[in-house]
């Protein structure tokens, strides 16, 4: 994989309560640990995923379509991890947590 590689994916929020503090917190942690830039866009608004305050403003409820974009080494894995969190599954690909199931 090469550093300039940009990976982008459109994801629908499946969490029953939308992107609450807890999943946002996990997404933010994932993004902060990632070496390159990570953004999540909702229409015109583009949130820097390393900023919790930006993420909160996505105002993402169940069914909101978001575009997650990351660039750098292992950008794809990062985006997949974020997608899993938005669908209520743990970032590492395990089974969904009981309180965050996608109904």
């Amino acid at each position: 994989m090469n550093n300039s590689l940009v990976f982008r994916r459109e994801i629908e929020v499946l969490l029953k309560d939308g992107l609450h503090m807890s999943p946002l917190s996990q997404i933010n942690r994932l993004a902060c640990a990632f070496s390159g830039p990570v953004s999540i866009a909702r229409d015109e608004f583009i949130a820097d995923a390393k900023s919790m305050l930006d993420l909160l403003q996505l105002n993402a409820v169940k069914g909101t379509m978001l575009v997650v974009e990351a660039s750098g080494e292992q950008a794809q894995e990062l985006v997949e991890g974020v997608a899993r969190l938005m669908s209520g599954a743990p970032a590492d690909g395990g089974p969904p947590g009981p309180s965050q199931h996608a109904d």
Binding site: M21, S25, L53
Partner: protein, 582 residues
Amino acid sequence: MLVKRGIAVSPGLAIGPALVLGADVFRIPERFVSVDAVDSELARLNLALDGACREIEQNERLAAEHLGEQYGAIFAAHLQLLRDPKLVAEIVDLVTHKHFSPEYAASFVLKRYARQLQNLGNKYLAERVHDLFDLERNLLRHLLGERRGELEHLTEPVIVLAHNLTPSETAKLNRNFVRAFATEVGGHTSHTAILAGALEIPAIVGLGTFLTDISGGETVIIDGDQGEVIIDPDAATLAEYHEAETTSRRKRAQLRSRGQGEAVTQDGVRIHVYGNIEFPEEAEHCRERAADGIGLYRTEFLYLGEHKERSEEEHYEAYCRVVKTVGDRPVVIRTLDLGADKVPGMLKHMFADAMNPELGLRSIRVCLQDLTLFRTQLRAILRAAVEGDVRVMFPLVSSLTEVRQARMILRDVVEDLEDQGVPFRRDVPVGIMVEVPSVAIRAEEFAREVDFFSIGTNDLIQYTLAADRSDPAVAKYYNSADPAILKLIRMVVTAASDARIPVTVCGQMSSDVKFVPLLIGLGLRHLSVTPQAVPVLKDVIRNLTITRAEEIAARVADFEVARDVESYLRGELKKISPDAGL
């Protein structure tokens, strides 16, 4: 220009830039920092951010341990919010480029985010606003906390403005840089006020809410004589005060030189004027002003600010320093008068549940309960007495039993010292403070058991008139000139004179010059006052005759209310010593 009036508690004039200390409710000093302060302000911001983050981490651990992981997660999210690189960058940018103060910048940015969240129309997100406000408070507390810490690291003169200063904060004020202070709360005889007098810096308390109007850094004039704070004075006022400052300094120097020598009335009666001190260094202030000794040495200073037990050597050294400074003049050492507002850590448990601390376990009552504390101090006093004319005085006595108990412990200490072959003085005179009405009422009986009296008017007034001396809401009920107080003083003086024991007045009342002719007329020959007041008092005494003083005392006996007494005394003072009122 804004002028506020408060209670003048320590005289003098000072002009300088304001340093605002935050209250528990955070007011944002909406102010800008100077360009060259940007770096130090950013450093302060970083310290505060680190501190706030550490605190959240601690809360996270505690919550996770005691309440469960999901609660810990709330704080984890807070931590992420506060470490948000965008947030921090925006605050830093406002400080760097717009020269906002970190407090204002932090509040500005967090409030803007809060507004944005509120406007999203999402109920859940709108509630997250409270999390942001929480962070704002947390950060401000750390910023303002740092500011308080700055008090100890001042590098240039300031005027301290605060909601309140605790006695220990006041004691720690750096006299080289803190030119004056003013607080929103506090009364005439609060310990903070007494300390201000002791530090000899102009101070005004009880100003009421005024910090909201001040951002810090403005030029402020503190007129400690009139009790006025002038914020952002116009050029004419500033010039006027600069001139007044010079004049006042000159007048003080003049008074000081006139203060030398004994105070004798025009008809040849010697009046002893002693100094009240709190810190050993103040003994020097007394010596400079030719005070006749130390009439009240408050020994609590050792416990201010430091929450630890003090050793006998620490007491001994402090006392020796005072005794050596004043030479062969008397030093009256008052045993610990620890009360609710100056409790060292090790005694906190005793005060924890006091509903009404002024009527609770304080002063001699603490000493009689904590005998180790008491004995340690008594040993140090008896040992220091070898060096000069030391006398020991017990505060807040309310019954004969306490006097007897205290004297018994003193005898025990004497025996111990004797057994151990430690040098000490055996015949140290023992006196009591007369500051509880029960003692004034039975002064005759008490006079038979002690070597001297010292009337502590501050507490005597508070307990007689049932008015908390530190509560501005009842300040009008707290009145030195109340006929009941004057009657009690008369009773005590009569009892002392019948028993042929000396009696001194050592409360704030004797430092108020207008009361001096009255007190002398009532038969007092010993007054103990804040060191600053010694020269003024001597000046008044030298312009007075005993006959005139007695006429004044007789006339005052006819008045029915405090206000009439006060205005009469003020008028008389003008006739006796036109300059004395400042």
